[in-house]
């Protein structure tokens, strides 16, 4: 695995819709600052943005089994960034938003560390809430990341969950 890297896609035009949008997608080993990401979203269209919705995922002490002490996260460089861009495009077909900021960490993570951040800024809270949830649900099922749970007794790759697929399918019926 590469030791330290970060891909930032700034000022990407996400849609042919008149609403201007900006996406930052970063896959990185290092931790991230919630405040920096939030302030970046605040600054995209400071006079237009009326709502910012953020989600942060953390490493917890149980997954498929109890006693998790950490995680190892692997990804497919290139395809990961492309798939996240596609997810943002899909979200832009359904909701109006100004900025998106996605950060996903890879490599070795310890208990309670931050794994993933999704933030969406919009004029309206309903669009910010829905787009943030949609992007997170699709990230879980479509972006090529793999988690390995580390326990004192050994380590195991996490199995994909039917509940994650069900959350993704929910959007197709709405």
């Amino acid at each position: 695995m590469k030791s330290h890297f970060s891909l930032q896609l700034q000022g990407v035009n996400l849609s042919t819709k008149p609403s201007p949008q900006c996406a930052i997608i970063s896959i990185q080993e290092q931790d991230f600052s919630l405040d920096s990401a939030y302030q970046q979203l605040r600054g995209v269209f400071p006079e237009k943005t009326g709502a910012i919705c953020t989600f942060t995922g953390l490493v917890r002490d149980y997954g498929d089994k109890e006693g998790v002490t950490g995680l190892y996260l692997e990804h497919y460089p290139g395809m990961t960034e492309n798939s996240l861009q596609k997810i943002v495009h899909q979200a832009a077909q359904n909701w109006q938003f100004d900025g998106v900021h996605i950060i996903h960490r890879v490599g070795r993570l310890m208990l309670s560390e931050q794994i993933v951040f999704v933030g969406v800024s919009s004029s309206h809270r309903a669009d910010a809430f829905s787009a943030c949830e949609f992007i997170m649900d699709y990230l879980k099922t479509d972006a090529p990341f793999w988690k390995k749970e580390i326990r004192e007794s050994g380590s195991e790759w996490v199995e994909a969950k039917k509940s994650d697929q069900a959350r993704r399918k929910k959007w197709l019926n709405d």
């Binding site: 995922g57 996260l73 692997e74 990804h75 497919y76 290139g78 395809m79 492309n82 996903h104 794994i115 993933v116 997170m136 990230l139 879980k140 099922t141 479509d142 972006a143 090529p144 990341f145 793999w146 988690k147 390995k148 790759w157 996490v158 199995e159 994909a160 969950k161 994650d164």
Partner: protein
Amino acid sequence: MKILFFASLREQLQTGEEHWADLQSCLTVVDVINTLMSRGDPWKTALANPQLIISVNQEVSKLDTQIDLEDEIAFFPPVTGG
């Protein structure tokens, strides 16, 4: 052609990547799978997993997707990020 393997599959096969200088008569993804499986285990067992996802040039693909020497093919288990 570049062939990539990720996560549990990479560990099963004990390799993450290989390069082919020619297509070895493969026209589609399924031909590549059959060629790899003909090596016997662990290839035969690992690639027989029906849950495996296949991508060609970083797009999720099907077994009958045609391939080219310049392509990047990847095999991986269902994703579990987030």
